[in-house]
């Protein structure tokens, strides 16, 4: 755990969950943060390492989320609904709140009525900054309520954004996005559908239509997206394949658009049709990292561009993105704590 005297004191609410554990891992290796609290109701008083075996060296025990310590930054990694209910308490305890749930991602109470079950603290919605740094970097410095972008939304937006920026996609163009996700997206809770015998080897349509992330995508990309998600057999990873039908473009046009969008980005890697085994973006290639792989292929026969993007939902899709956003917000090096570059070979991480 980092202990520089200047390090920001930090709490993780929901530290026993999957994204909470990932936050603890990242913060423990980050020079700018010092973890002072990790909460869990179910594992109160147990060592963090008893839940997250990779953190056995961390000398920290879970405490009750009812008793929040005073800290500089509070990361909330709780199920939808908890942060909106406790946001006042969070701000009593901390100067800055970074929320990984969907509770502060949309801009208006109406949007929460439409896509979720309403909102308990709509007065905070204006104050919150949606954090997908490739999109909203400028708004992050100094923000005190950061709403980290959703995993499937992040994968989808990163794949399509260069086309939007380059004027190749209009707001009413038909866009299909077919996403494949790993089992960690479901969180540590589990249930019959996520038991190993039932979840192994699946290609299972889930949220075939009406996925809530459509709201984020529409809001921040300005596109209507016909979105479908499938559960597949991996633990970490989200892969979004976009099918779009723009005016005729060349591969050169596409490369220009994607390079323009991402060549300065520390966490986006363009992969579009090379040689070898790994020719297009795939989750294995970014597992454990905060990288997104983004690419495309041209289908002249069908007047189609296929876009690909792959992230680790635990990282670029949640905890990594949250730390990245905090790095920008606090003026740290953008890649601080997020340097791990991944493994090869690697199975289904």
């Amino acid at each position: 755990m980092s202990e520089g005297s200047d390090a920001l004191s930090t709490a993780v609410v929901g530290g026993s969950g999957f994204t909470g554990g990932e936050l603890l891992r990242l913060l423990a290796g980050h020079p700018g943060f010092e973890i002072v609290q990790a909460t869990s109701r179910s594992y109160d008083r147990k060592t963090v390492g008893s839940v997250h075996p990779n953190l056995r060296e961390l000398d920290l025990r879970f405490t009750d989320p009812a008793e929040l310590e005073s800290v500089d930054v509070l990361f909330a990694a709780t199920p939808h609904g908890v942060s909106m209910e406790r946001i006042d308490e969070f701000f009593d305890a901390a100067d800055t709140v970074v929320d990984l749930s969907a509770d502060f991602r949309l801009n208006t109470a109406e949007a929460y009525e439409e896509w979720y079950d309403g909102h308990d603290a709509p007065e905070y919605l204006d104050r919150a900054v949606y954090a997908l740094p490739e999109l909203t970097r400028e708004q992050l410095p100094g923000a005190d309520l950061i709403a980290s972008g959703g995993c499937n939304a992040t994968a989808t937006i990163l794949g399509l954004k260069p086309l939007v920026d380059a004027g190749l996609l209009a707001a009413d163009d038909r866009v299909v996005v077919d996403v494949k996700v790993g089992s960690s997206e479901g969180g540590a809770g589990g249930g019959a559908a996520s038991s190993h015998p039932e979840r192994s080897g699946v290609v299972r349509p889930y949220a075939p239509t009406g996925h809530r992330h459509e709201a984020e995508i529409e809001t921040f990309l300005g596109l209507d997206v016909a979105f479908t998600a499938h559960a597949v057999d991996m633990v970490r990873g989200a892969s979004a394949t976009g099918h779009v039908f723009p005016e005729p473009v060349s591969k050169g046009d596409l490369w220009s658009a994607y390079r323009e969008a991402y060549e300065e980005e520390p966490f986006v890697r363009l992969v579009a049709g090379g040689s070898g085994v790994y020719r297009y973006p795939e989750p294995k290639a970014v597992a454990g990292t905060n990288h997104a792989e983004v690419g495309f292929e041209l289908d002249p026969g069908n007047g189609r561009v296929v876009t690909f993007s792959a992230i680790d939902n635990m990282m670029k899709g949640s905890a990594g993105q949250a730390v990245h956003a905090a790095n920008v917000a606090f003026g740290f090096e953008e890649t601080a704590g997020l340097e791990f570059g991944g493994l090869h070979p690697v199975g289904s991480p």
Binding site: P79, H80, A102, D117, G150, C151, N152, E185, G186, G187, Y206, A207, H211, R212, H213, A229
Partner: protein, 56 residues
């Protein structure tokens, strides 16, 4: 055993004799969860769906 029509897919659903109002059945064609609204004659309606959070 009597029959009723599934409101989701239109298939016939076979009903048990001792059926009670409020019971939930699944249609054996489309799998929809159906609530028994009335018993005599049998009336089925789509059961209130459990809001399912697929995680995100």
């Amino acid at each position: 055993m009597s029959q009723a029509e599934c409101v989701e897919c239109g298939a016939d659903v076979t009903l048990y004799d001792d059926l009670e109002a409020g019971e939930i059945l699944d249609c054996d064609t489309c799998g929809a969860e159906l609530e028994v609204i009335d018993v005599n004659p049998p009336v089925l309606d789509r059961a209130p769906e459990l809001e399912e959070d697929w995680g995100e």
